[in-house]
Structure formats: C-alpha cells, structure tokens
Symmetry: C2
Subunit: 527 residues, 2 copies
C-alpha cells in the first residue's frame, strides 16, 4: 500500500525547497553545450512522440532531486495501485479506471461483480457494431435514407474531450478517406447554442448522441428536449434519431426513447472519458471504429510508458515533476499549452478542464487543508495564432508563464505549398523552434522596450504527424501527468465538489427560493 | 498636457498601498444590506447594459481612494488627449485613433494631411457600397452567379476580433432576417487550417477578404497563395474572388490582384481594428452595412460614457480601477472573462489578445522598467460550459481569480422552451446569478472537501439582449478599460515589441542561418 503524504512532509521536497540552486536558461542553452543539451534533454514517448525539456529550468542537480521526489512520493507505486483497482477517488469512494478503457496494465479489476476491462471492451464492440450498421445503411432513418451527421449533446467532459478529439482528426480523416459522417456538438444551456447547431444540419439525416453519465445533467436534458421538439416539428420520430451514452443505472439506460444505449460507469470521470463510450460513439460514427481503435492503442501505449518508475524514461512523470517544481519552488501561477497545429485548436480547452478540475483544490485526499500551491490556471490557443495575440505578455510581461509547446514535422492533409522558399508546415515548425529560443534566451537591446529578458521556460512535445495513434498518446500523456501531479500534491484528482454549490443555488433561483443578494441578482437577470 | 507618471509615484496609489482596509464579501453581501448593495453598486453603460460590481472587494472607502487615483492619474485628461489626436503610441510614434472609426469625441484630428474621421467614414461608405453590390448581384462571379460566402484571411487582430464579432451576431442575424452571407476565417500558417476551410466552402461562390495592414504578414500572404492556388485549380480567376483590407501604403493597396481594396491606417492597432475596415468588410458582407453601422453606434455610445470624469458614472474607468486594485493591491495574477452567452464563445479569446498584448509589458511609456505588476493573464470560456470545466479551481483552488461575468435577459433567437418549469434562458440566468453568490459568499461545511471559502470577487455586465448595438458597446467597454489600465500603469498599450524576436528567429531558421540550440530545435522539427 502506498503511503499518501502531503508534499511538504517529504524529505525530498524539503531538500528541494531549501536548495537555492537555480538554472539560468541563457547560460545552459548557449553555444555548443546548449546544442548538446537540446539533443540530450529528451524522453521518448509513445507513437513516435518526444518530450524535450531542454528549455526547462532544470539540470542534473535539479533532476536528481526530482528523481528523489518521485521515489519518495512513490509515484509509480501509486499508479500501480490505481490501475490495479484501488479506491483512489476517496471523496466519492470510487475506483479510477479510465486506463482500462484502452488496455490492461495490471491485474484484472473486478467491480460490481464484473471484470471491468471486459465491460469496457464489450461496450466498444457494441459501438463498433452499431456504427458499422449506420455506415452500411442497415440502420437508416424512417425513409430508409442514411444518416450523414452525428450531433453530440453533452457538457463538460461529455463535450470538451470528444469535441477536441473530433476536431483533431477531421483533416486527417478527410485526407485519408476516413470521413464517414460529420459531427457537431451542443453543450451550453443557452438555447442559442442548440439553435445554431440545428440551423446548420438536416435533422432528417442526423443521429443525436445524448451523453450524460448520471442521466440527470440539467443542460443535457434541456438540450435533449429542445432537439426532440425540433425533430417532431420536422415530422420525425425522435426515438429513431437518438442514442444514449450513460451509466447502466441511469434513467436513460433502458428507455425506449433511444435507438440504442452505450454504457460507461462511475469509475470513469467525465474529464477522462474520451477513451470510453463518451468519445467512442461520436468518433466511431465520424471516422469508423477502426480509427477509434487506433486512438485507443496510442493511449494504451502511453499508459505503459507512464508505468515506468524512472522519470527520465517516463515523460508524463517527468512533466508532472517539472510542473510541480515550477509551481511550488519557482512560484509560477499559470501555465500555457500552445500546440502548433490547427487541428489541436480545442485541445487546450480540454486540458483546461482535465487539469484545473482535477487539481484545482485546497484540501488533500483526506479532506485536510494543504499549505502549498496546487493546480495552476491553464490556458492556451494554437500557434502561430497566439504569437499574434497574447505572446506579448508571455515575452515581456511581469509574470513568468511556463509553456508547453506541441509540434509536428508533417501536416495532416499532406497538401502543402512552397512559398518564398519554404512550405507552410516548415514556417510553422520554424516558428515554434524560434519561440522556444526567444522565450528562453531573450535578446538584449539598448531600447528596453525591445529588450527580451528570456528565462521563460518551455518544453515541447514533437511528433511526426498528428494521427489517431499520436493523438491518443498525447491525450494519455496529459491525463497521466495530471494524475502524477495529484499524487505529488496528495489530492483527490478525481472528484469535483467545487462545482456543486453553484448548482444548488441555481436551483434555488429557479424555484424562487432566494432572498438577500441572490434574489437581487436573479431580478437583474429577470428570473 | 497630461502628466505621465508611474503608478507607484502617485500619492493616491501610495495611500491605497498603505491602507490595510479590506472588504469581506461574505459580510457585505449578507442580509438586506447585501441586497441593497447589489441594487446600488451599479453603473449604467451604453445600449442598456449595466456594470454591477457589488461582488467586488470594494466599498465606500476603497472607492474613494480609487476615485482619487483616477484624478491623480488624470485618466479623463489622458483619454481626452488621445481622442484629440496626441501621439499616445510613443513606441511607434503614432496617434491612437480607433475611437474615430465610430464617432467624433473631440476635435477634428488631421494627420497626413487628411481629416481622419472623414477618412474612416469614407472607407465605411466604400465598404457599404461594395457590400450592396455583392448582395444585389451587381458584382458576381465569372458565371454571373452571386457570392454566398465570405472568407477572411488574416491573423491576430485581423482575425480574433472580427471572428468573435461574427460569431456573436450569427444567431441574431438568422433570427432577424439579416444573414446575407456565411463567413469563415483562415488564420494559422498551418496549411491544415486553410485546407479545412476550403473543404467546407464552394470556391466558385466565395469572396475572400485578405486582411493585412502592412501587406507583409507572413501567415496571411502564405494563406493568400494557398487560396489563390485552390481557386486556380477550380478554374477560377483569383482576382475576381478577392478583396484586400490594408493600409494605403501597403503593396496590396493598388494591386490588380483584387476586386477592391479598403483601407485602415497605422493609427488603428490590429487588436482595436474590429470597428475599422478590418471588421467592417466581413461584417457588412455577412449581415449588411446597416448592421455594421448599428454595431459602430453602440461602440460610439460607450466611448462617450468613457469620457466622463467620475469613475462612478464611467463603467470602463471603474472597471479599470478595480482591476488595478485587484492586481496591484490584492495581488491577483489572472482574470477570467465568463460570458453566459454562447454567442460570445470567442469573445474571451479576443479580449485575451486585446488585454494581454496591450498591457503585458514591463517598461513604461518612456522605456523605463516599472516595479509593479502590469497586465494579468486573461482567459475564459462561455458559461454554463465553464461550470462543468475549470470552475472547480475557481471555487476551491489555492489562488483567487477575479471574474468578469456577462449575461443577458433574452436570448438572440427569441426561440426558447419551458422545460421543468423554466426556459433555457432562465436556467442560464439563474446559473450566472448563482455563481456570483457562490463565489463571493461560499458555504461552510464540516467536510472540508465540500467547503467553499468564498471571497472570490466578480462583476457582471448585464444587458437585455446581445444585439449589434450592445455588442459594440461591450467591445468598446473593454477596449476603454484596457486603455485606462494602460494609463494607470503608465504603459504604452498600443505597441507590441514583444512579438518581434520570434519573427526574427523564425526567419533565421527558414534561411538556415542558425547555430547552437536553435539549430537543434530546427532539426527536431525537420526544418
């Protein structure tokens, strides 16, 4: 059994805290030694990805202390317990099993009387079979016509991850003859969200995927009613246009309102559900079940590497340790994720949920307050777009923001053009390489307005191309990084009590059971 | 002439810094006094909007000190100088004239021998005329068929603002019979961005809008070449499908490659250009020139209010002062913008540029380092989506993040449904009201995992409906807020030297003139 202790009680952390050794990026990246450092500060990841941390403020001395911290905190042991089915989600008293949706890392995990890996595989098989029938035309609309569009109705984890993954593979699928159905997403309770999507599709040829684990999510049920209404107005039978993704115990599970129901369970947190049926249905419909399988394989490969004990051969663990070093020792409050790939345009929004909802907490897994900083604010947009936007502050602002770049050597479509001596993809790559060095090394100028102090740390994950496999690996890398950081901070990364109070108060407003300030705010909004 | 001084040299700021008076939100929002506070802590804005700051950590005493700070810093005087044509952009030695694109606040401003208000109006008239010809079918494609889609090619300010404004009005336009053309946007140098957009349109019926002030933006010229190639491949003449938005001195201005050219100038910063031709062409094509005119009128009305001297009748100034109080006195490092309106889904991304690029600086307007914090990291996503994502950290994380909510009493489409006793729009409003109180007042719980400390400050801008007018007012509010904060911090908010170094290094990579670390990073990306 792992020993769950607060970060600041660990000897290795005390040593790290008391060390005044600091790495100057301008020094360590200078000259031939700097070039050598970029070659060496690199960890292979799954599916041909590489994690390069040469521009992070670490060196042999810091890495050794981080290595000690990893051992002291027993990160590998805790992960092992997790994937072997320990009750890691202490708040809700649940296992944490999203890794099992894509592979078997350890022992069989039996819960509620079933082997959970079998359960997830069976659901995937059901999804594959269903998708095949949709694609072949065995299941059609009432007029015997094929469905051409899938619309996912879900919010939070039922929206951000699947949406980000769909966008990530859209171009790849088009270039590789895998674009089987368009997908769209409805999430917000704002009626204009559903109306906007409904205005862009042909309901007669659309299959709606209703996603809610509990079957009680306010936004999702409201949007379901909205959509059913639209279907009826179009003279269609909603139950022939809708499938549900939910838990077996939810009110949606056995309803005749749906063509089919696919299941996940309470051991899959919403923000970790892209590799479960939550992502599986929409991605299998859009790109085919084989593509979803490849995505799962990439994630499984990354999970295997995350089980390595030594941080220097475990990119997720190393990334987590460096992040904690930056947050708790160097005192940086935020972090930016900057993929140089338009396909990853919503990947930062997904990570924002995955990271901030998991580790944005102030009590440890035993419900005791912690005295150290935990999860940072995370934000990001794709490059080069961000360069023409908020990078000004990143380069010359008063606070240092650690950066996580992502880049690929090839674009997804395979189509490119040489313009003024270089392709677009080369321009993209040149820009991310340039930014890393600009942030780290800066540039002196007599005009201080043009001075770049440098010393801004970044790492980069580089891959050959964003494919289903490398996307799966990228997703799992960050999921595992977040998990390791939760272990280090001694948090329960798998509950989200912080979202409850707002829900309770919103219900009170809707039933007009308010007084004081809340009632005046409600009036202001005409409720 | 205004006296430009560093924030920390002002007596009023010293007084503010030395005061240990702090407002406890739980106290001041409790009971009937709390209700009264919500009623009173409110400033009318333009176009029926209201700025409510009852859940900010201010009271009479703090407001008086902020009022003194506004006077001491001569915020109103500085704005007056700006709109009367002083050279406020000291770095690039330029006037700052985006307010003139939508109204005349002060004296005539003559620069380069022309009255600038006349110049901007003339360009708007040219745009209106052109858009009318496109809509009427007087200008068509080579086959005499109408253009149905507009695609803007631009990056940074030529993309984020216009894109956010287009998305903000799409549903409104559809509901009000104003949807004249679809619009799409290409920004990233990643070739997959252009290819994705090209895959979604019919080039034969598409008009491309090339936007680059200098006419030399790498990404935009690259994407132009990409698009021209696609047009030629489709057997079309690119010069009959493309207009330019640029400065009169740019290489694009007089080119026969374009159907028409519309001008802005060096006095309009990219991030402040939505009300110039940069936003004008695409919005006039999509929704008609009258709608763009209404948007400008909303902005002009907000500008007029921003010229008021007293912060309590000037929401932009008050918002700016409270933001500086939070950043410099209370020590908060980030801020979140959370619109409860799906139509504003990309408004936070636009503000991220507008704010972080303007005030993410470490030297004052004279090029001297400043010893105080300046612009914060800004991020945001629409609610209720964010509630199911990063709000966990906002409620229970270790750092306090000041929040800016936006909400409306009516949705744009006018279509809504009563589900379980309330409409979707009521649910949306109930949620934002609930969140404000949850963040500010929290909730005690014996289980500390379910404890909400409260004390998280927010303000809300509330309006009747998001229309062209109120959108213009909202945009101008934030532009003016950022301007006032730049005045307070004594920054030049209108240059962006921090984006230059990356460009220089990227060019070096592309011409293989690198060594050391940069050359290894370039290799890693296969350049």
């Amino acid at each position: 059994m792992a020993d769950w202790k607060n970060l600041d009680t660990l000897d290795s952390y005390k040593k790290l805290s008391s060390s005044d050794h600091r790495v100057d990026l301008k020094d360590v990246l200078a000259g031939e030694a700097g070039a050598e450092r970029v070659r060496n500060y690199s960890v292979p990841m799954a599916c041909g990805l590489t994690y390069n941390y040469a521009a992070k403020q670490v060196d042999g001395e810091v890495l050794e202390m981080l290595n000690d911290l990893a051992k002291d905190s027993d990160l590998a042991g805790k992960f092992e317990e997790l994937y072997n089915g320990a009750m890691i989600n202490t708040g809700e008293k649940r296992l944490v099993l999203h890794h099992l949706t894509r592979g078997q890392l350890g022992n069989d995990v039996v819960a509620d009387g079933v082997d959970k890996r079998d359960f997830y595989k069976k659901e995937q098989a059901k999804i594959s079979e269903f998708a095949a029938k949709i694609h072949s035309g065995e299941i059609t609309n009432a007029d015997g016509e094929r469905f051409t569009t899938a619309v996912q109705i879900g919010i939070g984890g039922s929206d951000l991850g699947p949406r980000a993954m769909y966008i990530a593979l859209e171009n790849w699928a088009r270039a590789n003859g895998r674009m089987l159905m368009d997908a769209k997403f409805i999430s917000n309770v704002d009626p204009d969200d559903a109306l906007n999507v409904l205005a862009s599709i042909d309901p007669a040829h659309t299959l709606f995927i209703l996603v809610s684990k509990s079957g009680t999510t306010l936004e999702t049920l409201t949007n379901e009613a909205f959509v059913k209404n639209a279907l009826k107005d179009a003279g269609l039978d909603p139950s022939k246009h809708m499938v549900a993704v939910t838990s077996e115990t939810s009110p949606l599970a056995k309803s005749s309102d749906y063509l089919a129901a696919f299941f996940m369970d309470d051991y899959i947190g919403g923000r970790y559900s892209s590799t479960s049926a939550v992502g599986g249905v929409v991605l299998s419909l859009a790109f085919g079940p084989e593509v979803f399988e490849r995505f799962l394989n990439g994630a499984a490969e990354a999970d295997k590497l995350a089980a390595h004990e030594a941080p220097l051969s475990n990119a997720a663990m190393l990334d987590a340790l460096i992040g904690v070093y930056e947050r708790n020792i160097l005192g940086y409050e935020t972090t930016a994720v900057l993929p140089y790939s338009q396909a990853l345009s919503r990947f930062p929004a997904h990570l924002q949920q995955a990271d901030m909802e998991s580790n944005g907490k102030s009590v440890n897994r035993f419900g005791e307050p912690v005295d150290y900083k935990t999860g940072p604010v995370l934000f990001g947009e794709p490059g080069t777009n961000g360069q023409h936007s908020f990078y000004q502050l990143l380069h010359q602002g008063k606070d240092i923001v650690p950066l996580q770049f992502v880049g690929f050597r090839k674009n997804q479509s395979g189509v490119d053009m040489d313009i003024q001596g270089s392709t677009s993809q080369q321009k993209l790559g040149a820009n991310v390489a340039a930014q890393i060095v600009a942030f780290a090394c800066g540039k002196d100028d007599n005009d201080l307005n043009k001075q770049f102090d440098g010393g801004r740390p970044s790492s980069i994950i580089v891959g050959e191309e964003l494919t289903p496999e490398s996307l799966g690996a990228l997703l799992a890398h960050f999921e595992n990084k977040i998990m390791f950081q939760g272990f280090l901070w001694n948090l329960n990364s798998f509950d989200q009590e912080g979202v409850q109070l707002g829900k309770v108060l919103a219900k009170r407003v809707l039933s007009h059971e308010t007084d004081g300030a809340l009632s005046v705010y409600a009036e202001l909004l005409d409720i």
